[in-house]
């Protein structure tokens, strides 16, 4: 642990710290950020009304559009002279939003990224290759300063030129690779083409994030590189990487709760869901000075993983982010995320994790059918076996999603593949039947 006195704090002490910090953060944004003052006033909320952490529920939410409409500096809570660095969101879904950091913010961010590397088992003896892009994107510089703060030897390669990445990986005795998981796969493939077996190199762990990835991909990377692949989480609006990180025990990502409050809400009702249930992740920054965010709706889908961790950290864990609220379906009143179906399918031999959810209108009811590809290598000579397989998938989905759907087995490779984001939902409800 990089900061055991904080990371392994007793829960009651942690909650007292959170409450004190929350009250300060709310008072600060109310005094300094017009948007928050307006929102709080409209909701009839005053920061001093917060007496315990539960009172957070009374605070209005912040959404992506709030940050965009404040472009570029409208959400800053300190004068520009106190801001020492700017980053921005990638802007792939519209106008970019700008985030500013004070000296103190950068110091804390470096500590949190040092914690992240320590979560992956790294320390001052390690050689860390930072292959996240350097620039306005938070990944490169975030990882860079965290690595230096940890005292590790830091190689600031940034992204691109994959053959050179492989050469550095090999020649510099790199032990930790920090990049996006998809780039890690490309590095592994390129190394193989160059006749270099990454499994024989000193590389022992990968710190991967900045894009959603699956357990299947983790297996693939771990096998190809002979390493532990660690999932990290962050977003520029909240800080950048270093908001949450897996430790070597897996089973979810520890949220650095002394700096960030996490809530999981139902994106329809906006009410918190019980621990363990999926919903939209909402973050409140407790210590950010430049651009604090209050109840920021990330649109990321996750859940709190209940239980203690063997690593000794007392921070609660969130499950790997499995999708976006934009993908959510409401089926007969139940929120369903396509990624939940993928998870169910991963656990059933005989079907491939390729599926499509087909929505149709039958009278006034929505009918839902999940098309699932049979795995090309199963023994399916008998109809009985196929019917049993179909039933098994239906039961598993009903058990996991609490909603029953029809399952149709389809031929391998019959569901359209996509280069980027797979189209998982086919909505024919407008067409009638």
């Amino acid at each position: 642990m990089f900061q055991p006195e904080l990371e392994a704090m007793p829960r009651d002490a942690l909650e007292a710290l959170q409450l004190a910090r929350l009250r300060m953060a709310l008072a600060r944004v109310y005094a300094n950020v017009p948007l928050y003052r307006r929102k709080f006033d409209e909701a009839g909320f005053r920061p001093e009304q917060v007496e315990n952490l539960d009172d957070l529920k009374r605070v209005p939410f912040t959404v992506k559009d709030d940050l965009r409409s404040a472009y570029p500096y409208g959400m800053f809570a300190v004068p520009l002279r106190d801001i020492v660095r700017i980053h921005s969101s990638s802007g792939t879904t519209g106008q970019i939003s700008v985030v500013g950091y004070t000296k103190g913010d950068l110091e804390r961010w470096s500590e949190l990224m040092a914690r992240t590397f320590a979560c992956a088992g790294a320390g001052a003896d390690d050689v860390i290759q930072v292959t996240y892009g350097y620039g306005l994107f938070t990944g490169g510089l975030g990882a860079h300063y965290g690595s230096e703060r940890l005292g590790a030897l830091t190689i600031p390669v940034s992204g691109g030129n994959t053959a050179r990445q492989v050469q550095i990986l090999k020649d510099f005795g790199v032990t930790v690779l920090a990049c996006t998981p998809s780039y890690a796969l490309l590095i592994a493939e390129t190394a193989a083409e160059m006749g270099i077996d990454v499994r024989q190199l000193p590389l022992k762990v990968g710190v991967f994030g900045a894009e959603p990835w699956s357990e299947g991909m983790r297996d693939q990377i771990e096998k190809a590189m002979g390493i532990h692949a660690i999932d990290i989480y962050g977003l520029s609006e909240v800080m950048g990487p270093g908001v949450a990180s897996e430790c070597l025990h897996g089973g979810g990502l520890h949220v650095f709760e002394d700096h960030f409050l996490i809530e999981v809400i139902d994106p329809e009702t906006l009410e918190p869901v019980p621990d363990g249930e999926l919903g939209e992740v909402v973050f409140t920054t407790l210590t950010k000075e430049g651009i604090p965010v209050i109840r920021y709706r990330t649109r990321d889908i996750s859940r709190i993983v209940p239980g203690e961790c063997a690593c000794g950290r007392t921070f609660r864990k969130m499950q790997r982010v499995t999708g976006r609220t934009d993908d959510m379906l409401i089926i007969r009143g139940v929120n369903v995320y396509p990624s939940q179906i993928e998870q169910v399918l991963m656990g059933i031999p005989g079907v491939a994790p390729h599926y499509q959810i087909v929505l149709r209108k039958r009278g006034s009811m929505d009918s839902v059918e999940v098309h699932v590809e049979v795995s090309p290598d199963i023994e399916f000579d008998e109809i009985r076996g196929l019917e049993a397989l179909q039933k098994k998938v239906e039961d598993a989905i009903a058990g996991s999603l609490a909603v029953s759907v029809g399952v149709k087995l389809v031929e391998p490779r019959s569901i359209q593949r996509s280069e980027g984001k797979a189209k998982r939902v086919l909505d024919l409800r407008a067409e009638g039947e």
């Binding site: 199963i378 087995l409 019959s414």
Partner: protein, 145 residues
């Protein structure tokens, strides 16, 4: 043992034709074909030449194919011929999953293809009654797996 291809087919227009086209273009002559179906999909069971090469050709065209071992028995083409064989298997406790037969008008025997739970027990029971299995080479051209 006979090696039969089982091909998963969605109930969609043209899928069976497509399967036959792939086999035809590859020069795999079919000797028997039967389709078992539900409302949504079916399984085509095919006995054809060079079944392993045929399987690869079908898979390359996107079909899901398994190779299933079945047994073939020649039965005199007369009333009661099949009943006798089934009674024999029943008495030996051999469960028949499914069967289909093909009859050639110019032959005195029909060939019945059986899928059984325990092929070795079936073979033993049949041979004890003086019925021998049809060798694969008599039906189709073999190839290596």
């Amino acid at each position: 043992m006979i090696e039969q291809l089982s091909v998963f087919l969605e109930n969609e227009q043209g899928r069976l034709a497509k399967m036959c086209r792939v086999l035809g273009d590859g020069g795999f002559n079919m000797h028997a074909l039967v389709v078992a179906d539900t409302s949504e999909y079916g399984v085509a069971r095919v006995i054809c030449d060079r079944p392993h090469a045929a399987r690869r050709a079908l898979e390359a065209s996107g079909f899901a194919v398994s190779v299933t071992k079945v047994i073939a028995v020649e039965i005199r083409d007369r009333p009661g011929g099949l009943a006798e064989v089934l009674e024999l298997l029943g008495a030996a406790g051999v469960n028949v999953e499914y069967l289909y037969c093909y009859v050639r008008p110019d032959a005195a025997e029909a060939v019945d293809i059986f899928r059984v739970e325990d092929p070795a027990a079936a073979q033993g029971a049949l041979e004890a009654a003086g019925i021998s299995l049809v060798r694969a080479t008599r039906i189709y051209e073999l190839d290596a797996g």
